[in-house]
């Protein structure tokens, strides 16, 4: 079933794979630190994350194993399936932290919003690869794309999960702009957004409003989110040059960081490894970015280009938002750090995306 000929192996992007594995290893080590207890070094979080990592690597291999043009053919099937899952969440999803985000499948709980990111990128690439050329994008196509982005966004906002909805919107919008959406449209869209913003504001959940208000003015909520941001900044800053050493981050160990193994995992890492470690981590992500750019630029057709561009945008918008959030540069919206944060669905989707990037990369010469 795996038809991998020698030519494919010859064009395999080893550096991309290597840097991904390095990031994974660092992530696992950090999850261990973030979740270890005094009496027990290896927490259930660590073991579950290890298991997810193996599953994710399986999906990565799966992502390389077929000709990626199959995604083009089945784009709408995948998109429809992920929308159905989102609707299922709205109907029978499991509650957690005041939101309905998970589908409980018994042995594992699935977060369909993560799948929606992926399927939205695929369906947009498929539509736009057929309909874009040197001339400006036809407005009918643009409208179809807006709908394709809007549906999952609306469903995810309902959960409510502001962070993921923003990512889907940002990634979808980037692909659309890259594919040739007239810049006039972009500016017009921005203007419209500015106009409907007050209306949208009234439809945000109170806690989302509070987070945004609090971001703009942290003094508004110094006892909760404002406190989280301050503690995160203290954790990062107190790492100084060399960090406090592995497993020695006091902010993290004493549970002063909120959700330290998911949203604030970067603060844990930066506290223990200092500026030196954080720079290395940023360098690794930057290297990954460069490899992605290489893959995009070498992709042999429009679908491949748009697909890899969309996936890269998805990964790096999350990296920038998550770290920016931990540093107090961006609002706390609940976005995971790819390859690092604890959480199965996100990890699997990111690794599957890497698999697809490898896939496009190694099929650049096949016809």
């Amino acid at each position: 079933m795996l038809k991998i000929d020698r030519r494919l192996i010859a064009h395999f992007d080893w550096p991309l794979l290597t840097v991904t594995l390095l990031l994974l290893a660092l992530g696992l080590v950090t999850v261990l630190s973030a979740s270890h207890a005094q009496d027990r070094l290896l927490s259930p979080f660590f073991w579950r994350q290890s298991a997810w990592m193996l599953i994710g690597l399986g999906f990565m291999i799966l992502g390389t194993s077929f000709d990626y043009h199959a995604l083009d053919r089945y784009a709408f099937v995948l998109y429809g399936a992920s929308l159905s899952l989102l609707i299922a969440v709205a109907l029978v999803g499991a509650f957690g932290g005041g939101a309905r985000r998970w589908l409980d499948l018994g042995f594992v709980s699935l977060q369909p919003s993560e799948l929606a990111k992926l399927s939205t990128v695929i369906v947009l690439s498929s539509v736009l690869a057929r309909n874009s050329g040197e001339q400006t994008l036809a407005w009918t196509v643009a409208v179809v794309c807006f709908v394709l982005i809007g549906l999952p966004c609306a469903l995810i906002l309902e959960q409510p999960d502001l962070g993921t909805a923003l990512i889907v919107a940002a990634v979808g919008g980037s692909v659309l702009i890259a594919a040739g959406l007239s810049l006039r449209w972009v500016f017009a869209g921005a203007a419209v957004l500015a106009l409907v913003a007050p209306y949208l504001w009234t439809h945000l959940k109170p806690y989302q409003q509070r987070r945004i208000e609090m971001f703009l003015n942290p003094d508004l909520d110094p006892l909760r989110y404002g406190y989280h941001i301050i503690q995160s900044k203290i954790a990062i800053g107190s790492g100084m040059w060399a960090g406090k050493g592995y497993l020695n981050g006091t902010q993290n160990r004493l549970n002063f960081l909120p959700e330290q193994h998911t949203d604030f995992i970067f603060a844990v890492f930066a506290e223990e490894w200092g500026f030196a470690g954080a720079s290395v981590l940023l360098a690794l992500y930057l290297f990954l970015l460069l490899r992605c750019v290489v893959v995009i630029s070498r992709a042999k057709d429009s679908f491949g280009v748009l697909l890899t561009f969309g996936l890269s945008t998805m990964i790096f918008s999350q990296v920038l938002i998550n770290i920016g959030m931990a540093c107090g540069l961006l609002p706390v919206v609940g976005v995971t750090l790819p390859f690092f944060s604890y959480g199965g669905s996100s990890l699997v989707v990111c690794l599957f995306s890497i698999g697809l990037l490898l896939n496009v990369s190694m099929r650049r010469f096949t016809f």
């Binding site: 110094p222 900044k233 549970n255 750019v293 995009i296 630029s297 992709a299 790096f316 920016g324 540093c327």
Partner: protein
Amino acid sequence: MWTLDQREAPSRLRRRIRAAAYLALLGFVGLLARLWYLQILHGEELRVLSENNRIRLHRVQATRGTIVDRYGRVLVDSRPSFDAVLVPEDAGDLDSTIETLATLLQVPSHELKSLVKNGQRPAFREVVVKRDLRFDEISAIETHQFDLPGVSLQITPRRSYPFGQVFAHVSGYVGEVSARELQSDPVYRMGDMVGKTGLERRWEKYLRGINGGQQVEVDSLGRRLRVLREVEEVPGHTLRLTIDRDLQLAADRALGEREGSVVALDPRNGEVLAMVNHPSFDPNVFARGVRKEEWRALLEDRTNPLMNRAIQGQYPPGSTFKFVVAVAALAEGVINPFTYVHCPGGMNFGNRFFRCWRKGGHGSVNVHEALVHSCDTFFYQVAQRLGVDTIAEYARWFGLGQPTGIELEHERSGVIPDSQWKLKRFGKPWFAGETLSVAIGQGYVTATPLQMANAVAMLATGARFRPHLVKEVESPDGVVVHREEPQQLTQLTVRPSVLKQVRDALRDVVERGTGKNARLPGVEVAGKTGTSQVVRLGKERPSASRLPRHHRDHAWFVAYAPASDPEIAVAAVVEHAEGGGGAVAAPLVRAVLSEYFALRDKREKQLHAENRSAVDRSL
């Protein structure tokens, strides 16, 4: 490597992707700059802040709302209390700090240790070591500050019940939040005081207010250096009750040390004017943290001081129940006002002799005289004609056998038996003889004092309201946010002549019958006595003083006044009394009524004087 393969991808796509890559690169540069700013430029100071968790959150507990009576006089409020708190992480040598603290506060050190070693506590969360310190304890801690690293004083609002036992069952009490309450409501934190019973619990959401907090910077010993940011607490709402403080105090005095309960309400709207029980307890004990042995003593006390007898005490209503039966009999037409029954001191039914309370008998009586002198034989006869199911129907109409719906938890419903009930409860059919006991409020029949007060109020006005204790809720800035409207539950739709006949009889009960002791100068009172047996005794009923205490009868009196235009209804029960309802309970109700009318007149005079002076001024 920045060039795109041009065979398929258009050049604009290539341009825009390159722009996106540069944008991402810019983002990375921005992050690196931010890390430099935090870790290198401000690393030193942030490192200091991270040691010992220098920036902490302190909760500022909101002051609980006050509870006032219908005229705004304070019944329950809060006062500041100095608590000693310890942050074990700051203590340095924890054991020696605990020893010093134990000697200063005269608390066994093992108790402190077990407080501190509570595994549930998050790191750096302070432990309250002792609440409500005395002045000498405060100064001892202040002077020994340097021997007590990690120990500090904290001022928190403490619930205070200035009237002690008198309002205990109405207000309820506050206590430390339980594990279950912590889980059910994220607002709570360990150590918070929450309403546990009574109105404190029922109106918790209004009373508790919103806790504030401070982000404080502390030094390496945990002493606070400065407040960085602060959210002010919002005090709780004020609860204005329907209770009249003076009437409640008068009822409490009237009941005295006897076990029992007194309830007074306004029959026109269901407002509870007084609700008093004895024995009671001091809710201040709970506000300061009840000790294990105190709690056990309260639970094991045979007289059950924690029970709110007014809504939880289920007593056989005895002869007070007769006005219900009289209404039923007249309304159903099984008797008319001129139906006479001869009472020779009891009657034979089946193979049993049912005694009337007066051994010599009442002679020939109609319903009026039977109520006035509380003749049992008359009602035995009536009972046979009505049947138990009809009696039960009317009793339920009067609100008996079901909770009144007052806003207090764990209200009991009492028992109004009928044939269905007995079949379900005991699996046995109803015996006709049992109906006779029911007609005089004995047998299976039980009712709470509040139910009886509400039933007699219904007789007085013809309508039954849901009794309630809260008039309105006021926000801290004086805005009324909630007002309890009178809620009429049902209406007596019997012929007006029926009501008039029974009401006239109850007036004569006080005027010249068994309830003479409730007579009040200047005000016409209507009422009904009751003496309910606790145990069935042999042929001869010895006098109360010769019986063991717990075999003695309960004394009841229910009344309303003024008889022609009722504004107050009262029910009183004295458990295992020295005498019957007329001797013991009627004077008690009289004292409450006389206080009510004295207070009313005083207030009217005051109002009058104020009006006159206002008129004088305006002239």
